[in-house]
């Protein structure tokens, strides 16, 4: 009886949405990751780190992004069309929908730009020089991260830079069409969605990540001392002092334990 009333109170939803929500989140995270990596790859286009490999990486990342996009879209559309979902769940799905559509917007713009830049910078034409941006390394690791593989294998043929462009054009039109359909079919008000993260949320759970890039901070701040380079260096100093102290404490503990062990035996 109590259980029955609870059911009625829930408006008829008789299953917990948490696993579904988590699944959606995972898929969105994957799409997000691929979008970020795709953007990094497109930024390298046309520069001296451009190469055959980069073009192939772009192509494969793009395809992966599209697969993920379609999967996400199907899932979320079916969920949002379902009228029997509770209010909180629906609000959550709308939030996920906003995440999804923002990702797709970024992806679409990046695809269009990669088409433009790809057309402007063909690789095989000797009179057409790549821009000397100072970036010379390869982007293999970024692509590997996007594809979630350890190492990338390259098997494309040599005219990928021109051949791929046609595919790219058709994919762009597909994506545009998909987005228009999305707008038509799903009635979600983006501004009504409330974000869960507050300002500065990116700082949390990233402190460890930030510390490891200490070296990069001091290099890139090629500026006079009154700039933020000073602040960064100061923080770096504190971090290293703390690390040293912790190390010393551990060493002391180890020495003490060792002494005890020796004494005991």
């Amino acid at each position: 009886p109590a259980h029955f009333q609870e059911e009625i109170a829930n408006g008829g939803t008789h299953f917990d949405h948490t696993p579904v929500r988590n699944e959606c989140k995972t898929m969105l995270d994957a799409l997000n990751k691929v979008t970020a990596c795709y953007r990094h790859l497109v930024i390298a286009l046309g520069s001296t780190s451009d190469s055959q490999n980069l073009r192939e990486e772009l192509k494969r990342t793009r395809k992966k992004a599209q697969e993920l996009a379609v999967a996400n879209r199907t899932k979320l559309t079916s969920l949002l069309k379902d009228k029997s979902i509770s209010k909180e769940d629906r609000a959550e799905y709308e939030r996920l929908w906003v995440l999804f559509s923002s990702s797709m917007e970024l992806l679409e713009v990046d695809m269009k730009r990669s088409l433009e830049i790809g057309q402007d910078f063909p690789l095989k034409v000797p009179t057409r020089h790549l821009i000397q941006t100072g970036m010379t390394g390869s982007t293999t690791t970024v692509a590997a991260r996007a594809m979630s593989v350890q190492n990338m294998k390259y098997e494309a043929d040599s005219n990928i830079d021109t051949a791929d462009l046609r595919d790219l054009q058709s994919e762009i039109s597909q994506v545009t069409q998909m987005m228009e359909e999305m707008e038509m079919k799903v009635q979600v008000a983006p501004w009504a969605v409330e974000a869960k993260q507050e300002a500065g949320a990116e700082l949390k759970s990233n402190m460890s990540v930030g510390n490891s890039s200490v070296g990069v901070i001091s290099i890139c701040e090629e500026e006079p001392k009154e700039e933020e380079g000073g602040g960064g260096n100061r923080d770096a100093g504190f971090a290293s002092i703390c690390a040293v102290l912790v190390f010393l404490v551990i060493i002391t503990v180890a020495v003490v334990l060792g002494y005890l062990v020796i004494n005991m035996s």
Binding site: K33, V98, S102, Q132, G134, P190, A199, E202, I217, E228
Partner: protein
């Protein structure tokens, strides 16, 4: 309702055309040539070496050689390339200029090049700021913090996405090797310095409003398009042509006159706010400043239009006209402008007010326009629209221009202003002072606040205006507050009536009319028309003197006219005055009408009984107007003592006029 996201709303979001971008891109490609391009060198940092750094002097030398120009021009050209964002400095990244020494620059990657068709998105900026926040562990620069908070407020619904994407992009960037990482961070930072310039940075990509139409789209050749071309060509053929000597002469004259006033072509005193971030120039040239600058006063001498369009000039002119007792002209012109530019809802009332104040017979501030124009205007006022008073306004404008403006230029008011006008000293700022100024930059007063102030001032002015211009036809209408001051009985107290006293009564007192013959009144009318535009001498002594007692005035009138006391006193009462005025207005065309009818009519209209002889024609205006007004008044039955607009009538009106 579907929500259109901003990328697709087709509103105003196209960057105005920047034709220089394509040209700059071509140039960039030329610079990359290993043989003929700019020489690059490696940049040595603490741990790594990064290739492809170029020095400022190399860039300038290459540009000078490529375009065959001198070093100064090549330097400005180079600075433009930096300001556009195609090349970025490695040191001092906030100053987008080329230094002609060994300071290092680098080329920007094509993704971060400025483009015509890809708008710079706030979402991307938010992601960049979040990434920077991660890297700096929360310590952002002041302007970055402001932007961050602003974006967090306005893009709140996307904030989850922004945080997620920022983290992912940050992690993806770490996958690259260290030198590439460094380069990427510099590139991104340079991109945002160009497109979201920090205070004190001048970026060439800073522009005003977006356009509604994409300047890059090809126009589709529909039949409509061709029809527009045809219409345009036909109109061009019919256009009246001016001799080129005439038009060129006019251009030359304009340039010569305005050259020293143009802040682009000549020095702007004390300093150009856009260059030095110092707003003294604007505060000195506020619309209603007490002491104008010499340059501003000089502009007033160029043309009458300049004088009127400058609020300070207009005030000066108004003061002058007040002294000359022809202020109604300017007031009329201003209220016509108000009508033209006002909201449609208020147009009808405004037109009525203007008619009652300026155009009607017996109006408190009657303006002197010729009969034809008056007829056309009154006719048009039956169906008032925005431009109904255009003819009258033009007439008054030309009157002021040809007559008052010339006298104004020679008047003591203007000479006084000219003498008091100040000429500010030129500023000489050092570099550090310029930076200080840039930091102190703050937005000015909101336009809403400014508009409120403007309106308060207008209301104050309207309340302060007293009727100093009365013509011989003015009827004192006590209740009329607009444009007539709150004082109860302005006309009776108005001093300029004094000069008229010698010859004409202020209000066409029926007593004097009755005393004189009609021919004498005609003569009087003509004489007063002759001195219509005010004589400076007499009004000067009594200018703006609205507080004379009614009694004193009427006593004087009494003494001068030697009229019979009873009728005189009758005319003293307010009601009588209006009655007197209107009775003359109501004068029937045929003077041989029975004297019974008019008084009764007057009585019905004004609800008073006054014994006033009806037969006098004061107004030398067409009889039809009188006729229709008569009928209107008689049938009107509208509230007492009101000047009736000819189109206002409660009873079914005849169709005349």
């Amino acid at each position: 309702m579907t929500i259109r996201n901003t990328l697709r709303d087709h509103g105003q979001r196209y960057r105005p055309r920047m034709a220089c971008l394509k040209k700059a891109e071509k140039l960039m490609l030329e610079m990359q040539d290993p043989k003929t391009g700019v020489k690059s060198q490696p940049q040595r940092l603490v741990i790594t070496t990064i290739p492809h750094a170029i020095t400022g002097e190399d860039i300038i030398a290459w540009l000078a050689d490529r375009f065959q120009v001198d070093a100064q021009e090549a330097r400005s050209f180079g600075s433009t390339l930096v300001a556009l964002g195609y090349i970025y400095p490695l040191r001092d990244h906030k100053r987008l200029v080329i230094k002609p020494d060994a300071s290092l620059y680098r080329f920007q990657t094509p993704y971060f090049w400025p483009t015509q068709q890809w708008p710079v998105e706030d979402t991307d900026y938010a992601i960049y700021l979040a990434k920077r926040n991660i890297r700096k562990k929360g310590i952002l620069e002041l302007h970055e913090q402001e932007q961050y908070n602003r974006l967090h407020k306005w893009m709140n619904h996307k904030w989850d996405f922004i945080v997620m994407q920022a983290k992912e992009q940050y992690r993806a960037a770490k996958e690259r090797k260290k030198p590439d990482r460094v380069v990427f961070e510099c590139q991104e930072r340079a991109y945002w310095v160009v497109h979201r310039p920090p205070p004190g940075t001048v970026s060439a990509m800073d522009y005003g409003l977006d356009r509604r139409i994409d300047p890059n789209t090809e126009e589709v050749k529909t039949p409509d398009y061709y029809e527009r071309i045809m219409i345009f060509t036909q109109q061009s053929i019919m256009r009246p042509r001016v001799k080129s000597s005439v038009s060129i002469g006019a251009l030359v004259k304009y340039c010569a006159t305005y050259r020293s006033h143009d802040p682009f072509l000549s020095n702007c005193l004390p300093s150009n706010p856009w260059l030095t971030d110092d707003v003294t120039y604007w505060t000195l040239n506020m619309p209603n400043v007490e002491i104008p600058t010499k340059m501003r006063v000089e502009r007033w001498t160029f043309s009458f239009g300049e004088l009127l369009s400058d609020p300070r000039g207009r005030n000066d002119f108004r003061l002058f006209l007040k002294k000359e007792f022809s202020g109604e002209n300017l007031a009329f012109w201003e209220s016509c402008e108000d009508l033209k530019w006002g909201t449609a809802a208020t147009m009808r009332e405004k037109a009525e007010q203007i008619y009652k104040t300026f155009l009607a017979r017996g109006a408190p501030r009657w303006i002197n326009i010729d009969g034809k124009t008056m007829e056309v205007t009154v006719k048009g006022l039956k169906h008032p629209h925005r431009y109904v008073l255009d003819a009258a306004q033009t007439h008054i404008y030309m009157l002021m221009k040809k007559d008052s403006y010339g006298r104004y230029m020679k008047s003591p008011v203007f000479k006084d202003t000219l003498q008091k006008a100040m000429s500010p000293e030129e500023h000489k700022f050092s570099d550090s002072q310029l930076e200080q100024n840039a930091k102190k930059r703050r937005p000015s007063l909101s336009p809403i606040v400014l508009r409120q102030q403007e309106q308060e001032q207008k209301a104050k002015m309207a309340a302060n205006v007293d009727i100093t211009q009365l013509c011989r036809f003015t009827t004192p209408v006590p209740h009329l507050a607009v444009y007539s001051g709150i004082s109860d009985f302005p006309s009776a107290n108005a001093s300029p009536s004094l000069p008229f006293l010698a010859q004409t009564p202020v209000c066409p007192s029926p007593i004097s009319v009755a005393l004189d013959s009609t021919s004498a009144s005609d003569r009087r009318v003509e004489a007063s028309e002759g001195e219509g535009e005010g004589n400076p001498a007499a009004p000067a002594t009594v200018g703006g003197n609205a507080s004379k007692s009614r009694v004193a005035l009427s006593l004087r009138r009494l003494l001068r006219r030697g009229c019979t006391p009873t009728t005189m006193f009758a005319s003293l009462s307010p009601k009588c005055h209006s009655a007197a005025g209107t009775s003359s207005r109501i004068q029937p065309i045929s003077p041989d009408q029975p004297s019974q009818a008019p008084p009764r009519r007057i009585a019905n209209f004004f609800q008073i009984k006054v014994d006033i002889p009806p037969e006098c024609r004061i107004y030398p205006i067409e009889s039809e107007d009188e006729d229709e007004e008569t009928r209107a008044a008689s049938r009107g039955g509208v509230g007492a003592k009101e000047i009736i607009c000819p189109w206002e009538s409660l009873s079914p009106q005849n169709g005349t006029g």
